[in-house]
């Protein structure tokens, strides 16, 4: 069974797809760092960075709005920043009256909130593009290359491999529970405690299956010589074209960052 809803990769033969995953990972993190270092209310800089992200989406043959829409997922968390609207002192924008309290929104407050939300939205687009253009096994290679310990990468790999299998099992459990959760008048469901126990039982069930599966996997690994060490196929070094892209990208992002710091 395929679970594409869990797999963000979108196959294509674009420039971004064929770029070395190591380069992509480093540039993505560098981009997010550049966005993070951009000062508050540096609207022109945000526009430039957004344009970069959109350009990348187009280069990836994903369309202008692909990343824009998916990055909106971060929005609910924006509520965390909302209080700043009312708590930063400065020029008064408007006031809200709630009962006996007066909430005063200020200009710096608005700038702070908008900046946080925009920066978050733009950052997330980079991450969306990375996963849409890079298959996960390649991301693993990239992680090893930037120094993530091999044991950890091995765990990531196994976890990802069995994610789909176990989510499949979880969905089957949920369906089985739902199929037995009917009632003629739509009432019922008993107490929270009972529901939690059922859910907890399902969780325990999943763990058990997971554990037993891991035993079988271990047997399969042992049968092919696994001895506890992590051994991997060595990766070829970056070719000159990739290196140029990498350095070019880093320099551009660095320039944008410095631009932001000097002018705003």
């Amino acid at each position: 069974m395929h679970y594409h809803f869990l797999d963000p990769y979108r196959p294509a033969k674009s420039v971004l797809h064929t770029l070395d995953p190591r380069v992509k990972l480093v540039l993505t993190v560098a981009f997010i760092l550049a966005v993070a270092l951009a000062p508050t209310a540096a609207w022109p800089l945000y526009t430039l960075l957004l344009a970069l992200a959109v350009a990348a989406a187009v280069a990836a043959e994903l369309g202008v709005t692909y990343a824009l829409k998916r990055a909106l997922l971060a929005l609910p968390f924006a509520l965390a920043a909302l209080p700043s609207l009312f708590t930063l002192p400065g020029a008064r924008l408007f006031s809200l009256q709630i009962g006996q309290w007066v909430l005063t929104a200020t200009e710096p407050g608005l700038q702070r909130v908008l900046s946080v939300v925009l920066k978050s939205w733009i950052s997330m687009q980079a991450a969306v593009l990375l996963t849409a253009t890079t298959e996960f096994p390649d991301l693993l290679v990239a992680m090893r290359a930037i120094g993530v310990p091999r044991l950890l990468v091995a765990i990531f790999g196994l976890m990802w491999r069995y994610l789909f299998v176990l989510v499949d099992e979880a969905i089957r459990l949920i369906r089985a529970r739902d199929a037995r959760s009917g009632s003629p008048m739509g009432q019922g469901g008993r107490t929270v405690w009972w529901r939690a126990r059922v859910t907890g039982g399902m969780a325990g069930n999943l763990f058990l299956r997971g554990y037993e599966r891991s035993e079988r996997i271990y047997a399969a690994m042992a049968a092919r010589g696994y001895d506890g060490e992590v051994r991997t196929f060595p990766q070829p070094p970056l070719n000159i074209g990739q290196i140029i892209v990498l350095i070019g990208g880093l320099i551009s992002l660095g320039a944008l960052t410095l631009l932001g710091i000097w002018f705003w």
């Binding site: 609910p76 930063l88 765990i155 196994l158 929270v192 907890g200």
Partner: protein, 331 residues
């Protein structure tokens, strides 16, 4: 993943995974440093403690927790509770492998599903995989010891460990947001804390349910973890976890009453932001709509904090008088 509170004030989303852009670079970098340290130690300790089954076991359990987070059940109104997993991982595997498992869960969530940012991944891993696991383990071991390893101690311990891990992790998130200048402490701390005290109950219930199931079917799996205090490093986690819980329980109400210290830190990061960023000035009357007075909100948080402190103080006292036989670790 997503939690949709409909009856709680919408000021603070209850999601624990922080996206990029909400933490300052300094806070992110510091959290990365702590995370690299913690995960490094976990790698080292796990390499020494578990045998070669470790990779498939941890990988699959990570996938299981991930899949388990899809299970949910309605708590009340429109809300639903689901699993973070630090507690159950710590109880089943022991602290250090649990750190690695949770690290992979949080990382994959960020990498694949943008559940949490990449630059702030260090902070998210720190909150859930290190603080979450440490606190869960510390509380669990304490309660096991208090109940002298009776079976019901496992369940009570599981519940309280899970609940505490969620609450404390959420307080860390609130503090990180405050230190970054994103959200004032006297709102974020009480809001995060209170919301997650409710969510934590869900985590606790699911954890008990899972433990009960395993207790009935494969009791031997509950002994997978290296026995409690028999290893110095596990003892360190136990105590460390309690200290973290204690510290946060005390500091958070303080921070929310006197956010100036945190504001000062946020302001000092101004060299990375604009020079015109002004510090917070808290106007007390309307900072926490929904509760009549900021003081009441923080008092509430303080009371709960005090309860936690009291409970852990009890635990620490018992620690000194514990008589726990070292049980052999079965591979």
């Amino acid at each position: 993943m997503l939690f949709a509170p409909k009856f709680l004030p919408l000021l603070v989303d209850s999601q624990m995974h922080i996206p990029d852009g909400f933490l300052s670079v300094l806070v992110s970098v510091v959290c990365w440093g702590l995370t690299v340290l913690g995960v490094g130690v976990a790698l080292w300790r796990t390499g020494q403690e578990l045998d070669e089954r470790k990779i498939p076991l941890m990988g699959v359990l990570g996938a299981t927790i991930f899949a388990g987070q899809m299970l949910n059940f309605s708590v009340a109104g429109g809300t639903s509770g689901h699993l973070m997993g630090a507690a159950i991982a710590a109880i089943l595997l022991g602290p250090w492998p649990a750190v690695l498992v949770m690290t992979s869960v949080v990382s994959i969530q960020a990498l694949l599903f943008q559940d949490g940012g990449l630059l702030v991944l260090g902070a998210n891993v720190f909150n859930m995989a290190i603080v979450g696991v440490f606190v869960a383990y510390g509380v669990y071991q304490t309660i096991l010891t208090l109940t002298r390893n009776k079976p019901w101690g496992t369940f009570v311990g599981g519940f309280v460990a899970a609940w505490t891990s969620i609450v404390i992790a959420s307080l860390v998130v609130a503090l990180q947001l405050a230190l970054s200048g994103t959200s004032p402490a006297n709102i974020s701390v009480p809001a995060m804390g209170l919301i997650h005290m409710v969510i934590g109950a869900g985590e606790g219930l699911i954890t008990i349910g899972a433990l009960a199931f395993l207790y009935a079917t494969r009791r031997d799996l509950l002994g997978l973890a290296p026995a409690g205090p028999s290893r110095a490093s596990n003892r360190a986690v136990w105590i460390g976890g309690l200290i973290i819980a204690l510290a946060l329980a005390v500091l958070s109400p303080l921070a929310s009453i006197h956010p100036d210290g945190l504001e000062w830190v946020a302001e000092e990061q101004g060299f990375l932001n604009t020079a015109q960023d002004a510090p917070y000035e808290i106007i007390p009357d309307y900072v926490f709509p929904g509760l009549p007075d900021e003081r009441v909100a923080t008092i509430l948080a303080g009371i709960v904090g005090a309860l936690i402190v009291f409970g852990t103080a009890l635990g620490v006292a018992y620690l000194r008088h514990r008589r726990q036989p070292d049980t052999a670790y079965e591979a």
